[in-house]
């Protein structure tokens, strides 16, 4: 049967419109400039776990995040900037995922990840009355929740814990995959009160700077989880173009090895980082998930006009 009706109620779309307006007001008050950046570009992210959608017949990819153009604006000296727009990820569809979704991403020149966490918390409190959040390192969270140290546990023991939680074969995943199993199966669903998780393993740095702690190398990256839902992912941004190039090359080689789609490396971004990139922190937030928590619904479908199934 054709279901032409919206998946969200009028009331929830009215609430969503207010949330979008409140986000813009919060960022404008802090002097952060709204910018529309391209959704179609010739290059794209090389992230191993994000699949991009390609426009058929065109040499263009749909953006999975406004990150690269926003950073080029920061490098150009345009100051604090944000984008609030749709992004696209192939195959991500479910109760808390939709292959196109609304992302809010902003950059703060001169901030580190801890200053940005405070601003993310203030935004959430202003926009949907989120309670005060705590902050915990990735390592301490694992030790407190599942009694294992993600930085010292050996691969065999880690795989055994992950296999026990998931039923997957102990050879099915590499180290970061098992950490993801434990995080998504045993830790994240239990995180009810808002919590910022910081100091991720360096292997999960994405576009964050890497630094040393007494127990090993960490990525200066954070995530906000509230009611078991990941709401934000932020970085103290890597500003070294050559290190960025090496990470892209490593990911592209792994993509080729795993027979995944290979996207052109973004030379514009690397050139921008090498030019005059100031020290800055940036964060991406899932706006549909914010609407979901604000409306106390269980699925994204209830807060987006038409979901993947009837778009």
């Amino acid at each position: 049967m054709v279901s032409w009706r919206p998946t969200a109620s009028l009331q929830s779309l009215q609430q969503r419109a207010k949330i979008l307006a409140d986000i813009r007001q919060f960022l404008a008050k802090r002097g952060i400039l709204e910018i529309e950046v391209p959704l179609l570009s010739a290059a794209g992210g090389t992230d191993l776990n994000i699949e991009l959608l390609k426009i058929e017949g065109e040499d263009r990819w749909l953006a999975s995040s406004p990150e690269f153009p926003l950073k080029r604006l920061v490098a150009a000296g345009y100051g604090d900037v944000y984008a609030l727009q749709k992004v696209f990820r192939k195959g991500e569809s479910g109760r808390r995922h939709n292959s196109e979704f609304t992302m809010l991403e902003w950059y703060r020149v001169g901030f580190d990840e801890f200053q940005l966490m405070d601003e993310v918390e203030a935004l959430c409190q202003a926009v949907f009355n989120m309670p005060a959040a705590t902050q915990v390192s990735y390592r301490k969270l694992f030790i407190d929740s599942v009694n294992l140290d993600p930085f010292t546990i050996n691969d065999t023991e880690l795989a055994a814990v992950g296999a026990g939680l998931s039923g997957l074969d102990p050879t099915a995943l590499a180290r970061d995959g098992w950490l993801d199993v434990i995080f998504s199966h045993a830790i994240e669903p239990e995180l009810d009160a808002p919590v910022f998780i910081f100091d991720f393993p360096a292997s999960q740095s994405a576009l964050a700077k890497i630094t040393n702690r007494d127990y090993g190398q960490v990525a200066q990256r954070f995530e906000l989880v509230y009611q078991g839902v990941e709401l934000a992912n932020g970085y103290f941004e890597l500003t070294d173009g050559e290190e960025q190039r090496q990470r892209f090359e490593r990911e592209l080689a792994l993509r080729a090895h795993q027979k995944k789609a290979v996207v052109a490396m973004d030379e514009h971004l690397i050139a921008a980082l090498n030019s005059a990139m100031p020290s800055c922190a940036g964060v991406a937030m899932g706006v549909d998930r914010i609407c979901m928590l604000a409306a106390a619904t269980q699925t994204l479908s209830e807060v987006i006009s038409f979901d993947d199934n009837n778009a």
Binding site: R96, L168, D180, E230
Partner: protein, 189 residues
Amino acid sequence: MANFSTNEFKGGLKVMLDGDPCSIVENEYVKPGKGQAFNRVRLKNLRTGRVWERTFKSGESLEAADVMDVELEYLYNDGEFWHFMDPNTFDQYQAEESAVADQKNWLREQDVITVTLYNGSPLTVTPPNHVVLEVAHTDPGLKGDTAQGATKPATMTTGATIKVPLFVEIGDKLKIDTRTGEYLGRSKD
């Protein structure tokens, strides 16, 4: 048989897992923003009835199970097999004890039953939620005993034993809930 990828998983889909046909109960896509995507799936093992929780890497696939539900008329039990017939084609099927299992006491001859076929043979049977069965044996009701809620056991012609009110007599036809084995009332059918 065809294969189904995790992105095709949905409630009711029949797939093979560990050599047994299963029905997907629930499928949840789970993905840390920068991490590996998984499908956390609850599946009902159609052979044992047990519900399994399993995680798959997104993009993995499972073989489809050759399972289908058909409406068949229950004919009789020959002591070893339970015999069913398709009322349209007159095709006959014989079910082993493991397939009828706990449901055998609710099967009344000539009733239409949902039978799940796996590779063309009965795997499980699902009687209607409510059936009407005749009392084959019960102790005589005690005259004048009208105490609320008092019950006694009664055995149906199919072999089922249920708790019934004291006024129920041999030959009465009773409406019974097959999911709970509860007496619902006397029937005029």
